[in-house]
């Protein structure tokens, strides 16, 4: 890495890594609040898919993960969710490592939405959303008023109340993703992880879905392909390349012509935000036609 973004990244890592500025033994691990990953790594087939990522999104904010295919976004999310165990490093919730917290306790406060999870089982939308209550329920116990309320609020929040008793299979792609978000909300999470939830959606549904996600009162980590959408909806962006954190900062700091050329190998024009409500925007350019050789 050759330019200033690298500096920004280093500064932030130093800032975020627990105890990085402190003398050894002076103060052991001040617990970061919320979700945090400390130098997590994952290996598959002798290759490091995720290589020493540290992050700690501020509670209530949205952290975007961007990077080319195979840069490790999905794997990082699976590590953060505790579905994969890291080969090195640790993921913590309020300072407690996920394995110590246990699957059930983790599921009571951290929810995951995949890119397009589907099922052959015949379920109504309400039943899909009620799946989110599983970590809160005991075997043989009936539905509690808290379960009812959580399902109702989740349906309401995602505008699916009038579809509640329809079959899941009758929903459109956008509605299915909303139903997954409703199921995640029924888990009553404080952290929400999303893996490219807008894939296969048209632009209106992409914007609707991201507006919904941005309005949720939770800490969000979201993998996105579209740089403009990431710039619009994320408070901070972490750029991954070959499993490493390449840059980290606000959209305006991170999304630059140099970075896009370096990470994606494509040419782009980046327009800075015009005012406080605007965001940095990207226009991709065609590769110039190849000149016939001399």
């Amino acid at each position: 890495m050759t330019y200033e973004k690298r500096v920004t990244y280093e500064k932030r890592v130093a800032y975020e890594r627990p105890g990085a500025h402190e003398k050894p033994g002076a103060h052991e691990n001040p617990a970061p609040s919320g979700l945090a990953a400390d130098r997590v790594a994952h290996e598959a087939g002798g290759r490091l898919i995720v290589d020493g990522i540290t992050l700690a999104p501020r509670p209530g904010t949205t952290l975007g993960l961007i990077g080319p295919n195979g840069s490790g976004k999905s794997t990082l999310l699976r590590l953060l969710a505790g579905v994969l165990a890291p080969a090195a490093g640790v993921v913590t919730l309020d300072g407690t490592p996920l394995p110590r917290l246990g699957r059930r306790q983790t599921a009571r406060r951290l929810a995951v939405v995949d890119q397009h999870a589907t099922t052959q089982v015949e379920l109504t939308v309400r039943e899909v959303v009620a799946l989110g209550r599983i970590p809160h329920r005991r075997p043989f116990s009936g539905t509690t008023p808290a379960d009812e309320r959580a399902v109702r609020d989740a349906l309401d929040r995602t505008s699916l109340t009038d579809r509640a008793d329809q079959s899941w299979h009758t929903l459109s792609g956008g509605e299915r993703q909303r139903a997954h978000i409703a199921r995640a909300l029924a888990q009553a999470p404080r952290e929400l992880l999303l893996d490219e939830p807008t894939n296969h959606l048209d632009i209106q549904h992409q914007l609707d879905l991201l507006n919904l996600i941005a309005s949720l009162p939770v800490t969000t980590v979201i993998a996105l392909h579209d740089l403009n959408l990431a710039a619009m909806f994320c408070d901070e962006i972490l750029v991954l390349r070959e499993g490493r954190a390449y840059a980290h900062g606000t959209p305006a700091e991170v999304v630059t012509e140099e970075l896009i050329a370096e990470v994606y190998g494509v040419r782009a024009r980046v327009t800075p935000p015009a005012d406080a409500l605007d965001h940095v925007s990207v226009r991709f350019l065609r590769t110039p036609p190849r000149q016939p050789g001399p």
Binding site: R78, R103, L123, L131, I134, E148
Partner: protein
């Protein structure tokens, strides 16, 4: 909003009530089916006769029947009917659990290779005389089932441990053991033995004794309890293993536990009654069409439906060609397939 809220609550309450009522009604139908099915057959016996015989044996009253009629009720028809109920319930529940766990609507209790392993074990005892007369057919079948299931677990673990690898390993084991069974039968058995073995392979309750009932019944109670304890966990598998994991499920642990318990139950049932096909595949689908896919309700209803179904199918199998008997596995499919197609047709999706 409050209207919708009330609607949701009432909906839940109604469906919970319906599930409870359905289970109660199912239990009533089950007891009635046992009582009536026992009266059907060449010897003329009435429902009150059945009651008095059962009451006498449970020590609630005086014996009113002649010893022969009492013997027909208590030693022949009763164990057979109860074993039919146990087998039907067990196979149907195993099918429902495996279909959800493996996310495969084609899964049935025999998908893990248990039945073909059992067949090979039984054939080894009957035809080859393995065990030197010490091993009974049932014991041989049980050992074969366990060996085959262990092979499937080992294979699927080696091959990558995903659900489709489990199913494919099961198919491989099934092919291997049925080839072994055919090979042994065709090379070593005479015509009479072949006929006997074939009868057993197709599933038959004709040899039912109380010891079978107690063994299978005990395993059924244990396995049913384990499955009911994991009913919600099975719901969580609807969107796959990763989704289940993020809903707080210990996927690996639950999968091994449920695979092993269902295999154990299947092995116990197959060693007593042979490989009765179709019940485990079709009954869960039929039950889903009635009560939906939620396992807390689906599992008890599936168990009851399987029990009642197999009682009547077996009654038909032993009376329709009287005095000859048709293997129950043949009748389950002959009756089950049209019913199954009807269920699938009714629940087809119009998209």
């Amino acid at each position: 909003m409050s209207g919708a809220a009330g609607g949701g609550g009432a909906h839940r309450l109604r469906s919970a009530l319906r599930g409870g009522l359905l289970t109660l009604a199912g239990l009533a139908v089950l007891f009635l089916s046992v009582a009536v099915a026992v009266t059907i057959g060449p010897a003329d016996i009435s429902v009150p006769d059945v009651w008095s015989a059962v009451a006498a044996h449970l020590g609630w009253g005086e014996a009113e029947l002649t010893p022969i009629r009492d013997g027909i009720v208590w030693n022949l028809r009763m164990p057979r009917t109860v074993l039919a109920a146990v087998c039907g319930a067990g196979l149907a529940v195993c099918g429902a659990v495996l279909q959800s766990l493996l996310r495969n609507p084609l899964a049935d209790p025999f998908v893990l290779g248990v039945s073909s392993g059992a067949s090979t074990g039984a054939v080894a005892v009957v035809v080859l005389g393995v065990g030197g007369g010490v091993l009974t057919v049932s014991a041989g079948a049980f050992i074969g089932a366990v060996v085959s299931f262990a092979l499937v677990l080992l294979l699927s673990h080696t091959l990558g441990d995903t659900t489709d690898r489990v199913v494919l390993s099961g198919v491989a084991a099934m092919q291997l053991f049925s080839a072994l069974t055919s090979f042994v039968v065709l090379t070593a058995a005479d015509a009479e033995t072949t006929r006997g073995v074939l009868f057993w392979l197709l599933g038959s309750l004709s040899g039912a004794a109380w010891t079978d009932v107690w063994t299978c019944g005990a395993v059924l109670v244990v396995v049913l309890t384990v499955c009911l304890l994991h009913a919600r966990t099975l719901d969580a598998f609807a969107f796959g293993q990763d989704a289940a994991a993020t809903l707080g499920v210990h996927v690996g642990r639950v999968r091994v536990l449920l695979l092993c318990t269902t295999a154990l139950l299947t092995a116990a049932l197959v060693s007593s009654a042979g490989a009765i096909g179709f019940v485990g595949l079709a009954l869960p689908h039929a039950a889903r069409a009635v009560v939906g896919a939620g396992h807390p309700r689906l599992l008890p209803v599936t168990a009851l439906a399987g029990a009642v179904f197999l009682i009547w199918v077996d009654t038909l199998a032993r009376t329709v060609l009287d005095p000859q008997e048709v293997p129950v596995g043949v009748v389950t499919s002959l009756i089950g397939v049209p019913a199954f197609v009807a269920v699938l047709y009714r629940t087809r999706r119009s998209r």
